[in-house]
């Protein structure tokens, strides 16, 4: 079979399987992003809280999940949560199980890893905002949550953006790990094709190129977002 048949869409080729893999990779990354951002934001809030217990809890969280290999976190979530939920369900007396599939396990594990790094990015962004911004807000009579929402947050997001885009690139690459727990992402689908057709270089090469394309597309989108964020400066 020649190369074009192998990567064609249809029963003979692997094009459709690989396209599915791209969809899974992209949707996993997109589904993980809001989870990771939200978690990371709350952890950053906890880390700069006045309450020492809250700071300590957040520190424990980031120390653990920045120290563990992503693959190990993934396995612990995938197997551990299943076993945990199963035992909990059994203890509560019903035998039907809640299923944690590979997609959800991947989403949770990658989201946790993302959030522990994102919290650092948010934290330094919070610290970059002068106290005067808060005080100015209070001085004109805004309540705390409005100061946060209208004054601080927009600036935090802008300062955190480069760091977060960097994390997005890392997240995109980390999704490759879910192939090890059986989710049909790019690496797994190309891997199956490589093994079945014995065209390892071709298919792993395709995986390599697909990730490059995703990185390229991301940087185009990120550039646009950054431009959008910078429009206040440009107007001057």
């Amino acid at each position: 079979m020649d190369v074009w048949t192998l990567i064609s869409f249809g029963d003979q080729g692997w094009g459709d399987e690989i396209a599915w893999g791209v969809l899974v990779t992209v949707s996993l990354a997109l589904a993980t992003l809001p989870l990771g951002l939200a978690l990371g934001f709350f952890i950053a809030l906890a880390k700069q809280s006045r309450e020492p217990t809250l700071r300590l809890s957040a520190e424990i969280y980031t120390t653990i999940f920045r120290g563990l290999p992503e693959l190990l976190t993934l396995f612990i979530i995938f197997f551990g949560m299943q076993i945990g939920i199963q035992q909990l369900a059994r203890a509560m007396g019903f035998s039907s199980g809640i299923e944690i599939n590979a997609f959800v396990a991947g989403m949770i594990a990658l989201g946790i890893v993302f959030s522990s790094y994102a919290s650092e990015v948010f934290l330094s962004a919070f610290r970059a905002i002068p106290k005067g911004q808060y005080e100015g807000g209070y001085a004109i009579g805004l309540p705390h949550r409005h100061v946060m929402r209208l004054v601080v947050l927009p600036q935090v997001i802008k300062i955190a953006l480069p760091g977060l885009t960097n994390l997005w690139m890392i997240l995109l690459k980390d999704t490759a790990l879910v192939s090890a727990i059986g989710l049909s992402d790019i690496v797994r689908q190309t891997g199956i094709a490589a093994r079945v057709t014995k065209e390892a270089f071709l298919f792993y090469g395709i995986a390599f190129i697909l990730f490059l394309v995703l990185a390229l597309l991301s940087s185009i989108v990120i550039n646009r977002i950054e431009k959008y964020g910078d429009r206040a400066e440009q107007a001057r």
Binding site: R50, L56, S57, G67, L71, L72, K173, A200, F201, F211
Partner: protein, 282 residues
């Protein structure tokens, strides 16, 4: 200067005051959350410890401890060798990245983009299985002996990968030294090579210290995928032990080992940074 002069109490002593009242911290939502989370972590630790103690099985420990140890050694040797080789390889790349030659610049940019834009896993598979399909060609040039071995392939992939990241660290660090330093050296008649060695590099190395530490930690974590190409490192031995014992503790032990390694490294790095930047602290 009479140091021996004793303290003389004033004639009128203020009566001893009671300590000020401790202001009771109000129980608000933040505090409640903080305590709840600490309770949660304590609970997790207690459960884990209790579980590891009740599940302690000398036979299993005896059987798997040496394997974990070998896996750990594999992880550490693989990472340390690839970091060192990558450091050597990163220097010409960083040099090319900073040069004015457009060709050199383009090639090095391409290299860095390729290896930083794709997952290490894809690179590893491409090198191990992908190059495996070019056996004849590799044999013809005498490289097959090297690529035949999975360990070599892993080392090769990791070295190429970390070189790309390290090149960016070097570039960033050298760039962070103000141009005035170069100009000052030039004004004193010091040639560029000397200026780099004696003036720029020492300053750049301090800037690069922290990112280097992070890169080593990232490599240790990233190396956990190497069992997928048959090199059994700490993670690989863990999966193997789990697949025979079906005991989830195997993963917990692996997590503890990885955390210990990373924390040791992190602390060494903090100490190094403190020592090397003493002169910068005012």
């Amino acid at each position: 200067m009479n140091h021996a002069q004793a303290y003389v109490a004033p004639a009128e002593l203020l009566p001893q005051q009671p300590a000020p009242d401790t202001i009771a911290k109000p129980w608000n939502a933040t505090r409640a959350w903080g305590y709840a989370l600490i309770a949660f972590w304590t609970f997790v630790v207690i459960v884990l410890v209790a579980w590891l103690i009740t599940g302690y099985d000398p036979a299993k420990i005896e059987r798997y401890a040496p394997r974990y140890w070998n896996g750990l050694l594999t992880t550490l040797t693989l990472v340390s060798i690839s970091i060192v080789l990558g450091a050597f390889l990163s220097l010409p790349i960083a040099y090319a990245r900073m040069s004015d030659n457009r060709l050199l610049n383009g090639i090095s940019f391409g290299y860095v983009y390729l290896f930083r834009g794709t997952p290490l896993l894809a690179q590893l598979f491409l090198i191990y299985y992908g190059l495996g399909s070019f056996r004849e060609q590799l044999e013809a040039v005498g490289l097959w002996l090297f690529f035949r071995d999975a360990w070599n392939c892993a080392l090769f992939a990791f070295t190429l990968n970390t070189a790309a990241y390290q090149a960016e660290i070097v570039r960033g660090a050298v760039r962070s030294v103000p141009t005035g330093q170069w100009e000052g050296a030039a004004a004193l008649g010091i040639n560029r090579l000397q200026a780099f060695r004696k003036i720029i590099a020492p300053q750049a190395m301090i800037v690069a210290l922290r990112p280097y530490g992070n890169e080593i930690i990232l490599m240790i974590k990233g190396s956990a995928i190497v069992a997928l190409i048959t090199v059994f490192d700490l993670m690989g031995e863990t999966r193997r032990a789990f697949s025979r014992t079906f005991d989830f503790q195997t993963y917990i032990y692996a997590a503890i080992f990885y955390l210990i390694i990373v924390e040791i490294l992190r602390n060494i790095w903090n100490w190094l940074e403190k020592r090397l930047t003493k002169h910068l602290v005012r």
